[in-house]
Symmetry: D2
Subunit: 343 residues, 4 copies
């Protein structure tokens, strides 16, 4: 920790600051410059985290030296983490695609969509049984009935299941059905939920919240890892900015930065970033080119009659085209994408 | 709902759009302009909410006509809601102040802080027993032990208690102790939690999330009201922007807009917006001048030794000064603020 | 300047970094901590500004110690700057109000508005002869004809004139007519323009750009001061965020921060922040309460027929009410506001 | 234009609104729904632009129907614009790369960099002779001396020149030397400058401002086109958001949206978005994959001694690698990139 003192700091204030730092078991290292005196606090920086140094008289600003995360950090774990699931690997050379409708619906739309995305090369089926909706008047999901429908679709198609868990009380039941637990963008900093999924043995697809910085995002992953579950997948899905042409602004740079800072797989959700199916194909191409390890894409057999998010859902034929397009981009960056039965 | 068609829309596409709208029981009203044809969909707009009109061929854009909220809307409830609590009212002419430490701590800091804020005019004691922390390595709160300490402080001082509830599983226990349930900024769109507190009979102080628009904020309140609990207090606490001089950017305009759009009380949390005690006094003056119905302020008997958020906590003497300052501003806008025993 | 090294920095990289810093005439101060080695570069920090330290192998991050501005800084000029203009002072105990239409129009609307705002207590008349418009198809201002109309209004009413200058070529002519030169929000970082107005002897009202940080804002003022013109007035007018309920988000905290960091007067423009006259009165109350030294407000004798910005313009009677309202708030924070002939 | 009325609108207010609209030569079309009455104003929407409908009593909101731009719109010009320059085309199947140092420097760094980027396949040399700098204390460029150095580099290498013009007074001289005029991000809405370059016959590379929406960005291009110069190239270079890991947040989606809405070429500047050379290669891959027509990249023969922006400048050998990487990505999306003498 570096503490920059005000030019008018008094000797008494200075001594008080030194004592405060030493009281936490840190050593101090003072450097008197031409315009400012600087204190370096040496030792375990986390001991100082709660100390309100910035409020002490005479302090101008406080600058942490260390990154606040450890378990997720590439500094301590240089090799990339690979998560094995059924017959594929997340984080390896193959780019994995999860696809499916926004929410599990009754009738045959789920299974028909599942068959179609499987055929085009998807490895996981995505669909929500528990749905976070901005309005209380919108469809809230089928709950356990939906989980059963997902299990049936897995049974028939062999696709793995990724589905959202919204609260601590339902972690157990969702974990019973799902292959991958999804944490939605509104729950990225729902710390109780993070701790709860950290106690399961299921990989967690952690979506980035709309106003969550990359540092905070990694710390959210750290919450899960700190409970013992190291199979965390970061998923960029767009942040909130002033631009309204897309539902959110896909922060494509985050893929490169998360790979640099952490050893965990990084996915991209183009559908929620875009908010319209028209932009999903171009965003997927960009995501693959920059190095995403996976994509999670909304596909519906009949978007016009989808129960939610129809605007941003691809039809199966558009999805099959997309898979061929990104297959080529993947090869250009020395990665692979499975094209399923169509390849 | 207004549907603007593309200039190159075909007759077949046009008919398909009409049929889609009529299939939801709406009437259509077509207006052919010089450059665009426009369809007005007349009837219950919520029937169209899930219809992916924007994805239909021939549609350029879709513009909703109605506001998505009802229970919170001033259109349907012109008089301001007043929430009665112990010996005071929230939403009436008196501006109510809640004050106290960030988190409940062991020892006598809580009770000493409580006595001090009571003396200066605060009506509620704020302090967290369950704490949402960005890092898993930070202090997470005392849990039920903290709730007991809060109850003891209430017993002695007569202050009402406002404290945060973080997840559905602890709503019952927090509601047993608290006078007002606080929903934190990271849970504004934790819909399960909103529904759960909506089933209690305790007023809810709902903080605005860092990237939650005012429309979404009101809808979050609507979630609570939709379960039967109409005692919702909106609390502006700063939004996330590019500016880093303050921890968050206090969106002061939101107070005026929330009062215009809804009938519910609106509070301001200057401490989390500011991130430094130095800006708390000026932000409180602005909040009172613009019409806030209440303030929730971090105060600690000894900020240098606070277990969390010491930087943004006021000392009791600064808090007493602040109360006098905002008392004057309150009078200038025809409101009152109690000055406690010191008045 | 503090340079934090990577944990895997090599001795050769370390030496190279040291040499680079010393080559700029700085001394180095090395501190080896448990997890990182830190270099303090001591001397004139500006010498290092152009050195791409962050790109050197072995460097993890670079943290500047000093603030990048001097002339505007309160550290070097503790007393508040007061700008004298005609019969009043900007930056003193009196809060100064500039009011008038968005743009100078032909006909008698300007002079009628000028009379009305004068009567209610305004000290300056605001109106644009050169107008920055988002669309090339919108009214672009009357140019020098408008400046003449402003001069006539000053002649009759005694109001000082504040009007916008948009480019270097017209600085001379605008300065010939105006009492205060206004730099608009889209030109906050138009550095040539800043330097040009810095060479005039007219005070400059510098508006904050929509995405300009406070640090950059102060540096923009520094550009003007660096040319010799120290009469700079900062004007907060809202920043661009995700929230769309108001045209921009008024960053009310900036008033307190600019006063803390600099010695220059700080004004607020509630009209452009709000984008609707309805929010102008509440925002003015907040601005006065937090300590603004002045306000610049759009007023039009007949907003329905204004040539631009009619939505956010107050009618004269609403403006007179506003002056009375903020007069009371000003007194509550020990400031004054003139109420003109009506007082 | 659609005007939604308040539920409590009076007959008198209603009549007044109708008259206002008709006074502008528009026809009205009234639709009375169950909850709101809606007025459609039919005719030339631009006639209503200045009418402050939103401020009229009884109006709840106003929704424009048409896009505010015409010349840039793909609706009126379906084929993509191709700009011919020396021996290459911008906007055609080949992706064009401009590369070079941030600013023109004395000595041989410019010419050595020019030779290197030429050899790797760049078609244009970029470098600033006039530099916009956040601080008045930073290097401001060599001015006309720099333009001469650029001309010499063109003479020797055959590279075309793209260089920034910062103000109306220097448009003529910069246009005399440059092949493409660059408008920087701080001048995207410097309307006088846009009009001035619109009167030259040189193509204009228009960078997106940090807080400029895509609609405003297209309107800025429209300003140039409206003066007769239709050779506008849009250049995404990152927007300002809360995220600080990169200097700006590259809004990669904008490439797809600008191509959909307009017929003009779209480029990407990865260097200013990233702020660090490390992210330039991945961002270029993403830009090419999503469909950018060109890239403008900072390259310096010796970044450690660059006069500005050394942190984000690539060394020539990294640039040559990058060209090979994006060459492969370009082929995967059916585009080409020249690899210069190395191919």
């Amino acid at each position: 920790m570096i503490i920059v003192l005000r030019p008018d700091v008094t000797e008494q204030e200075f001594q008080h600051i030194i004592e405060k730092i030493e009281s936490k078991g840190m050593r101090v290292h003072v450097s008197r410059g031409t315009e400012r005196t600087i204190i370096g606090a040496i030792g375990d920086e986390s001991a100082l985290r709660e100390l309100p140094l910035e409020a002490l008289p005479g302090v101008e600003k406080v600058m942490p030296v260390l990154k606040p995360f450890k378990l997720a950090s590439r500094d301590f774990h240089p090799e990339k983490t690979i998560i094995k699931l059924r017959d594929f690997e997340i984080g390896g050379p193959e780019i994995i695609v999860a696809a499916g409708p926004c929410s599990v619906e009754r009738g045959d739309s789920l299974i028909r969509t599942a068959r179609a995305v499987k055929k085009a090369g998807a490895k996981l089926l995505r669909a929500g049984a528990f749905k976070p909706r901005t309005s209380p008047y919108d469809f809230q999901g089928l709950g356990e009935e939906g989980l059963n429908l997902l299990a049936e679709a897995r049974e028939e198609t062999g696709l793995a299941i990724v589905t959202e868990v919204m609260e601590t009380r339902t972690v157990e039941i969702v974990a019973r059905y799902a292959d991958v637990l999804q944490i939605g963008a509104r729950n990225t900093q729902n710390f109780n939920l993070l701790m709860e999924v950290g106690q399961t043995d299921k990989p967690v697809l952690l979506k980035r919240g709309m106003s969550v910085s990359l540092k905070e995002f990694i710390l959210a992953g750290e919450y899960i890892m700190n409970e013992g579950n190291h199979n965390v997948i970061f998923c960029e899905r767009g942040i909130r900015t002033f631009e309204t042409s897309t539902r959110n602004t896909l922060d494509i740079s985050s893929v490169a930065i998360l790979h640099y800072e952490t050893h965990l797989p990084v996915w991209v959700d183009p559908s929620h970033a875009a908010g319209h199916w028209r932009w999903v194909n171009p965003l997927c191409r960009a995501a693959v080119a920059i190095g995403a390890d996976g994509l999670i894409i909304e596909v519906h057999i009949d978007p016009e009659n989808a129960w939610s998010d129809g605007v941003q859902s691809l039809r199966p034929e558009k999805f099959a085209e997309l898979m061929k397009d990104i297959h080529k981009v993947a090869e250009s960056v020395s990665r692979t994408i499975s094209l399923g039965e169509e390849s």
